[in-house]
């Protein structure tokens, strides 16, 4: 028996390790991995990611997990007592009051596990949620787990019929489910009970061994891989990209064109993915008919890896899928396995952009060229960058805040209004603000997300030099993309870490007392931009500011961590949307469904997209897109 058990466990361990070892050798250097073991244990045991954004199925998984954990722990205790402490030292710890609680806990856990299994079975095979693909292995897993639990109860019932029923009812009460089963066998003679017990015990045992063997062969492997994946996930700012060493003269390759170019974690992700499709349900590109599913992308990379570390990633994933991503990270926010999709996409884009000069369209090339020549993607005159501030009091000397304006607020007519509103607010707050004027360039974020790390680092270096020259200690932006890039990415390129970078939302939230209502205001809905929300966790401050000025907020069907992107992230603001339907129209419709008279955002890309979406969606009469700063400026 022990030989069999050992063989099964050995097979499982061998299978799991073999698979990972292949990954270890395939991916890039693993030297800089810092395992986050404590965090991983907590996330696993508390089932945090399974529950959040998982709905009933998430709870079903969590309940099943906890029950199975109790059953495994219980079985282990029985094993320790029977074959170790009792056998060698005659010591029994499963007795008395503890044993009663122990029996009850295991009994109830078994029952709850069967019920959870049943629920999950009904979901998968009766309700069949859209996008949830079922394979033969899924059916096998259901059968194995159900049989393991069911035969467990039969074994228990037979044992109780022989040893507790009629003899020790006081103890039998503590195993209510086992008691029900035992009553079925009531009246059988002792020899038959013993024989039946022996046979079902072996069946139960063999099913459990089959379960171990199935782990490395089916997606049950996630039991081990997901906790490891949690441990592998980097600490620190979420969604931060690696800053490439471009001056490395020995480097002949940049970005990822084949699985071998990806990080170990990125390859491990493909093993940890359980195809639960939560990411796909959240993906704005997928929702609007574009050929991108974060789940499929992960699987496709896994398939590319299986066909060889040198196979083409872009071919496996599809070039249109790679360019369709808006880097909103809604997929990552809901992934129970801790898969990071966006980094893989950026690495593939880097490969195409830096190694082949390949972009999704000529308009993107023109915008990148404009960033290079004019310092902004709109192609507007370099010297006109400061024109938006005409007539405003800007300080050079004694500047308290350096307002990094950003391209859209500098040049785009609609967003100039936002910049001027923000300056009005700063004026009323008595904050002396200055800008870089003509010296300011695009922060480089859209270029970077399109894979052009070289252009990003070029403009970033120029901006950093200009920022340092002002001696500013505090930077405030009105653009979440500028904010994320300056605050979380520029320090890699040498921005003085002593300089604090804030988006105006948090800067003004810290001055909440300055804002007050100026009369009734129509109901609004708030759109969480990806880069303030998911990337930087700023969810409550804008809502608190809206509350301070008396604006009643009606939330959209998707908000906060599952907010639906406007379509302008990931450099897509530079690109035409040629595939599927328009993301901004879907977003505007979602905002319109709240019945709000205004949709409030705090990002120039979002505002641009919402203005467009409201027009194309015929919502102009019903709902007006506004920036939070515009509302606040009149209410101080």
């Amino acid at each position: 028996m022990y030989l069999l058990a050992l063989a099964a466990v050995g097979f499982m361990a061998y299978g799991l390790i073999q698979r990972v070892r292949a990954l270890l050798h395939a991916g890039k250097s693993t030297a800089d991995i810092k395992l986050q073991i404590g965090r991983a244990l907590w996330q696993t045991l508390a089932q945090l990611k399974a529950i959040s954004h998982g709905g009933a199925a998430g709870w079903g998984h969590a309940i099943f997990f906890w029950c199975f954990l109790i059953l495994t722990a219980g079985t282990t205790l029985v094993f320790i007592q029977a074959d170790f402490t009792d056998l060698l030292f005659g010591y029994k710890f499963l007795k008395g009051g503890f044993y009663k609680i122990f029996s009850l806990a295991l009994d109830l856990a078994g029952l709850a596990a069967i019920l959870a299994m049943g629920g999950l079975f009904i979901r998968r095979y009766i309700f069949r949620p859209v996008g949830l693909a079922s394979e033969p292995a899924d059916a096998l897993i259901h059968i194995l787990l159900f049989l393991a639990l069911a035969t467990g109860f039969v074994v228990e019932g037979l044992r109780m019929a022989a040893t507790e029923l009629d003899m020790n009812m006081a103890l039998a009460q503590w195993s209510p489910v086992g008691l029900v089963v035992a009553k079925v066998f009531h009246g059988m003679d002792m020899a038959s009970l013993t024989m039946a017990h022996k046979i079902t015990w072996w069946i139960h045992f063999l099913i459990c061994l089959a379960f171990f063997i199935a782990i490395p062969l089916t997606k049950l492997r996630h039991i081990f891989y997901i906790p490891v994946n949690y441990a592998l996930a980097p600490a620190g700012a979420s969604g931060k990209l690696s800053t490439m060493a471009l001056d490395d003269e020995t480097a002949e390759k940049f970005g990822a064109s084949q699985p071998a170019d990806l990080l170990f974690k990125d390859l491990f992700d493909t093993a940890a993915c359980v195809k639960c499709k939560r990411c796909q349900d959240q993906c704005p590109a997928h929702a609007t008919g574009k050929p991108l599913s974060p789940m499929k992308l992960t699987q496709d990379i896994g398939a590319a890896l299986a066909s060889g570390v040198g196979s083409s990633l872009v071919e496996a994933v599809g070039e249109d899928a790679v360019w369709a991503c808006v880097t909103c990270r809604a997929c990552e926010a809901v992934c129970p396995a801790g898969v990071e999709h966006v980094r893989k996409i950026i690495e593939m884009r880097r490969g195409m952009a830096l190694m082949e000069g390949r972009f999704p369209g000529d308009e993107v090339v023109r915008a990148l060229d404009a960033i290079e020549v004019n310092g902004n993607p709109l192609g507007a005159a370099l010297a006109a960058r400061g024109d938006w501030a005409e007539g405003l009091a800007l300080t050079g000397e004694g500047m308290e805040v350096l307002y990094f304006t950003g391209c859209y607020a500098c040049y785009d007519r609609r967003n100039i209004k936002v910049a001027r509103s923000f300056m009005t607010i700063l004026g009323k707050l008595g904050v002396k603000a200055g800008t870089l004027g003509k010296k300011e360039k695009c922060c480089g974020e859209p270029a970077r997300k399109m894979g052009n790390e070289y252009l990003y680092q070029t403009v970033a270096a120029e901006n950093i030099e200009s920022i340092h020259a002002t001696g500013a200690k505090k930077i405030v932006t009105t653009c979440p993309h500028c904010f994320h890039t300056l605050a979380n990415e520029y320090p890699d390129l040498g921005l003085d870490p002593q300089i604090s970078v804030e988006h105006y939302t948090t800067f003004l939230a810290a001055r909440m007392a300055s804002f007050k209502p100026n009369g009734p205001i129509a109901p609004v809905t708030y759109h969480d931009s990806c880069y303030m929300g998911r990337y930087n966790g700023v969810f409550s401050q804008p809502r608190e500011l809206l509350a301070a000025i008396g604006a009643p907020v009606t939330e959209m069907a998707k908000s906060r961590e599952t907010s639906f992107c406007c379509g302008g992230g990931g450099g897509r603001i530079l690109a035409e949307e040629k595939l599927g339907t328009r993301i901004n129209a879907a977003k505007a419709a979602m905002a319109g469904d709240t019945g709000a008279a205004m949709v409030v955002s705090n990002c120039p890309f979002c505002l641009t997209m919402l203005e467009d979406g409201v027009k194309t969606g015929g919502l102009e009469e019903k709902m007006k897109p506004v920036d939070l700063a515009e509302l606040l400026a009149d209410r101080m």
Binding site: M355, R358, V373, N374, A380, L382, A384
Partner: protein
């Protein structure tokens, strides 16, 4: 085979142009510069041909102008040119088209170029003369306004764009000057390894005094913004009244009716 591509760096056309203090050209302060768009087609065509010809071909990129034009040369090198030549001339904008062509011809005369590509015209001055004059000075064949180009062992087949949307196929032989028009190709986006390699490529600097420009035949007397014409006037309201008013304006301003 030696190929030359001649490029010019021009101000970005979105610039808010100001006239310089001498009044003969633009003030370059706060101006963004880029490679002349037509010259990008020339570089792309030259690089594509060089790649097709293989190891025996060598492509030189030449530009005349102040220090800043090195940026344009580097871009051409990153696109695939083998070496750069910079005729350093801060006063280049005061030279007329014949002088510019003379300088190029003087540079090129003893280097055995068989093909010279350049843009149809520059985006800033737009004379479209440098290519043709250069061909005359060197005694090369000339094909202008090219939107299609084939080269086979010295034989050139080019597709030209004519007025009125017509096209013409012309055949000639090397040595030749080819001036490139929009539609010829899609210039490549330089890859990072090529940008890095370009930094190490040869870039010869030649003082303007070392190449013969000759005397100017055309001098720019004055550069200026065209005077603003009067603002348009919208006629609205009753159709009959609008028509009356329209007739009156036309009569007053033109005397045609």
């Amino acid at each position: 085979m030696n190929i030359l591509v001649c490029i010019k760096q021009v101000p970005d056309m979105e610039t808010k142009f100001k006239i310089n203090s001498a009044g003969d050209w633009i003030d370059e302060a706060d101006t963004a510069f880029r490679m002349n768009e037509y010259d990008e087609f020339a570089v792309e065509e030259a690089v594509a041909l060089k790649e097709k010809l293989g190891a025996g071909a060598s492509l030189t990129v030449l530009s005349i102008g102040p220090e800043r034009v090195k940026e344009a040369i580097k871009k051409a090198l990153a696109m695939g040119a083998d070496k750069g030549a910079h005729i350093q001339d801060d006063e280049c904008f005061r030279k007329d088209t014949a002088q510019v062509a003379s300088m190029i011809a003087d540079y090129a005369k003893d280097k055995g170029f068989e093909l010279i590509f350049t843009g149809l015209q520059s985006q800033d001055r737009g004379s479209a003369q440098v290519g043709p004059i250069l061909a005359v000075k060197l005694g090369f064949n000339l094909v202008t306004t090219v939107v299609g180009f084939q080269y086979d062992a010295g034989a050139i087949t080019a597709r030209r764009e004519l007025e009125g949307g017509l096209r013409a196929i012309v055949k000639t032989a090397a040595p030749a000057v080819i001036t490139c028009q929009l539609g010829l190709n899609k210039p490549r986006y330089p890859t990072l390894p090529n940008i890095m390699k370009a930094k190490k490529k040869e870039l010869a600097v030649i003082p303007a005094a070392q190449v013969a420009a000759g005397a100017a035949m055309v001098n720019t007397a004055r550069a200026f913004h065209p005077e603003r014409k009067g603002a348009g006037e919208m006629l609205q309201g009753d159709i009959a009244q609008v028509a009356d008013r329209f007739v009156k304006i036309i009569r007053e301003k033109t005397g045609l009716i």
